[in-house]
């Protein structure tokens, strides 16, 4: 009997992924006709801590592939997604991209979800000079400065000066004017950048920082931390957290009856259906960073149709049942690849990168243009507020009104309610 090591298991997973890639022919009739597909390779977190968003992103990308193939493919060829599970382990990512490029010989590559998985792919992608459209990275290219990297994320180029701007702009409209802020952030790259932005902008606006701490991702109980935040008596509470910490923080705050003029900030978690179902009215009046809401101001062409398709497959694929967070962006990520390839007319990495730098892309999440560094040329951090939530019923999140957009002004769909901590 031979032990199954982690490496062996990784190989087995890869083998099963290859096998599943083979079954794609059944899903896409064009493949069954024996044509030469355009193969798009990616690593994706289908297990491990990032699997929730990873699986949702993949489901959206598969819908895109299905849509494109139904319309005759790309450059007259069907598209085929070749993907491997990176198990939310950055160490697996370089090997996966090497295999995609050297063994599978894919034509194009896109990224897995989020910074921790994108960064390990960069050296391999850069070495092969591939055009690389990534999703929800945070400042990855600040270090690499790769001119063929394009990131689908609303935060834009200057996270420090813009990420918390919406939160503080909304706070500035409240009466009485908030004078103090507490900042709590998990020890990871994205959250620390978010906290840095809140710190920087608060000081710029003479808002006193009365609590400023980080916590390790392994924290189980947030009661003592939130009690210390409460003891500092801040007018504003800015949290930059990841799931499942966000859940623990909000539940502890509810148990301690914490109230503040505004509570929220850059929490990742409340955007997801599982949180909304469990926390119900605890989310009321939370003002939080987001990237999408089904408000009339974000009803871009194609997004409703996409969400209808996504929600049909979400239950079967066991992903986020609403799809109001990553999925529209994952679909739009592939639309950018699609539009660039169509314009260039061939698979030419340099030409694709030049096109992405110079053109405007019409996607289901609105028009997108990229800056010289490959981030969005214009940041679009949304600040949404949960309003009128009475229970964990998810149907309300399919309609406008539950997650009202307060910022930016051009997408605004409601007015802020204060304070946080009062019943709906």
């Amino acid at each position: 009997m031979r032990n199954i090591s982690r490496r062996d298991f990784g190989r087995l997973t890869m083998a099963s992924a290859v096998a599943s890639a083979g079954t794609l022919a059944g899903a896409f009739p064009a493949l069954a006709q024996g044509t030469n597909p355009i193969r798009i390779g990616m690593s994706m977190s289908l297990s491990g801590g990032l699997a929730g968003n990873g699986r949702a992103a993949l489901a959206a990308q598969q819908i895109w592939a299905s849509d494109v193939n139904a319309k005759g493919g790309l450059l007259g060829r069907p598209v085929q997604l070749v993907f491997y599970d990176d198990q939310t382990n950055g160490g697996q990512v370089p090997g996966i991209y090497t295999k995609l490029l050297d063994v599978d010989k894919v034509d194009l590559v896109t990224s897995p979800y989020a910074t921790a998985m994108i960064a390990p792919a960069m050296p391999v992608v850069m070495q092969r000079q591939m055009c690389f459209v990534t999703i929800l990275g945070a400042g990855v290219n600040t270090t690499f400065k790769y001119d063929r990297h394009f990131n689908m994320n609303v935060v834009g180029d200057n996270m420090k000066e813009t990420f918390a701007k919406g939160f503080l702009d909304i706070a500035a409209t409240l009466e009485p004017k908030p004078r103090s802020i507490a900042i709590l952030a998990v020890d990871n790259d994205f959250a620390q950048r978010a906290a840095e932005s809140a710190r920087f902008l608060a000081r710029q606006r003479n808002i006193r920082v009365v609590y400023d701490r980080s916590y390790p991702p392994s924290t189980v109980d947030f009661s003592p931390t939130m009690r210390a935040v409460q003891a500092a008596r801040p007018d504003l509470i800015y949290i930059a957290s990841y799931p499942p910490d966000s859940n623990g923080i909000l539940r502890a705050s509810s148990e301690l009856r914490i109230s503040a003029q505004m509570f929220g900030g850059g929490m990742v978690g409340p955007q997801l259906a599982a949180f909304q179902a469990q926390l119900g009215p605890i989310l009321n009046n939370l003002v939080n960073w987001d990237i999408f809401s089904v408000e009339p101001t974000m009803n871009f062409p194609g997004v409703s149709e996409f969400l209808t398709k996504y929600r049909e497959v979400a239950v079967k694929e066991q992903t986020d049942v609403l799809g109001n967070y990553i999925p529209p962006y994952a679909y739009a990520q592939m639309q950018i690849v699609e539009q660039a390839v169509k314009r260039v007319g061939k698979i030419d990495q340099a030409a694709l990168a030049a096109d992405m730098h110079s053109q405007v892309f019409d996607t289901i999440i609105g028009p997108v243009t990229f800056s010289a560094s490959g981030e969005w040329a214009h940041e679009r951090n949304l600040l949404v507020q949960f309003q009128g939530i009475t229970d964990g019923d998810l149907e309300r999140y399919k309609r406008p009104g539950a997650k009202v957009i307060l910022y930016p002004a051009n997408l605004k769909s409601g007015t802020p309610r204060a304070p946080y901590g009062t019943p709906a």
């Binding site: 032990n3 289908l46 801590g49 109980d221 003592p224 499942p244 623990g248 148990e255």
Partner: protein
């Protein structure tokens, strides 16, 4: 942060409640690792498996998570016996239990995590009992039932195990196998059978801890990872095979974590808590309740 008596008292009380959850998670390991010398690194993953089955069965039957945890414990006992049989056949019997046994349980942990994603999906799962959003207040002290009830449940289950180990013949045999398996043979007791039984109990305890975990927080397939270091540290600090030691160490761990988080920030909590482990081991290498060799 300035000293505040209310903050200190609440830090201690919330730490004791957190310690109750840690005790639930570590008690099964005190049996497998402490008594049987089986480095079951998959124990937290099995706890999370128990949590997922609690959510599935509890949602289906409409029962309280802790009731479901008790009802499903026999199934996990049988599952534990199966795991032990494989471990014994392929490693222990050959004398390969040290390093290869560890690799075996590492593999079990990994397979469990992937299996949970395959079966339940990667999303968070929850099952909130009716009392989950109730907080009792005694003066300035907050007692959220989300933490209190699982803590009491843990104490009750560990108390039951303690009585079983000290009052029943089989329980005494489990304690004996931890000390000298060969001596057990001389009394016509099969040590392998006793170890199999004890390991089954440890996995049943893991599933009950899963019920407690569901009440405290939602679970996802990788939730067990944050508990690996803590449960082994608690087991060692408590004195390996000692259940009272396990409880004391768990409560101490919880209190140190939460008081540190209150006054010095949560970043320091793990460092100070594990620092306590080193301090205890420096002065009592056998742990708080362990017997010196």
């Amino acid at each position: 942060m300035e000293f505040d008596l209310s903050l200190l008292l609440n830090g201690i009380v919330s730490g004791l409640l957190l310690g109750g959850l840690y005790a639930a998670a570590a008690s099964g390991l005190a049996v497998s690792f402490g008594m049987l010398d089986i480095v079951n690194i998959a124990h937290p993953a099995l706890m999370v498996t128990g949590a997922f089955t609690v959510v599935a069965l509890g949602t289906w039957l409409g029962l309280d998570p802790l009731v479901v945890a008790v009802l499903q414990a026999p199934l996990f006992y049988v599952f534990g016996i199966g795991i032990y049989n494989a471990y014994h056949h392929f490693f222990e019997k050959r004398g390969d239990e040290a390093l290869q046994g560890l690799a075996f349980f590492f593999g079990v942990m990994f397979i469990i995590e992937v299996g949970l994603v395959m079966v339940f999906g990667p999303e968070q799962r929850f099952l909130d009992p009716s009392y989950a959003y109730t907080t009792w207040r005694i003066g300035d002290i907050d007692l959220p039932l989300r933490m209190l009830v699982p803590g009491l449940f843990a104490m009750a289950s560990i108390g039951g195990l303690f009585l079983y180990l000290h009052r029943s013949f089989t329980g005494l045999a489990i304690a004996a196998v931890a000390q000298d398996a060969e001596a057990l043979r001389l009394m016509a007791i099969d040590p392998v059978r006793i170890k199999r039984l004890a390991f089954g109990i440890s996995i049943a305890l893991a599933s009950m801890a899963g019920g407690a975990l569901v009440v405290v927080q939602p679970v996802e397939p990788s939730s067990g990872q944050v508990f690996i270091g803590r449960v082994f540290a608690i087991c060692i600090m408590g004195g390996m095979a000692s259940l009272p030691g396990c409880i004391m160490a768990a409560l101490l761990f919880g209190v140190v974590e939460n008081v540190t988080a209150t006054f010095f920030g949560p970043s320091w909590s793990p460092a100070v808590a594990f620092g306590w482990l080193l301090l205890v081991l420096a002065f009592r290498p056998q742990g708080l309740f362990g017997k010196a060799a």
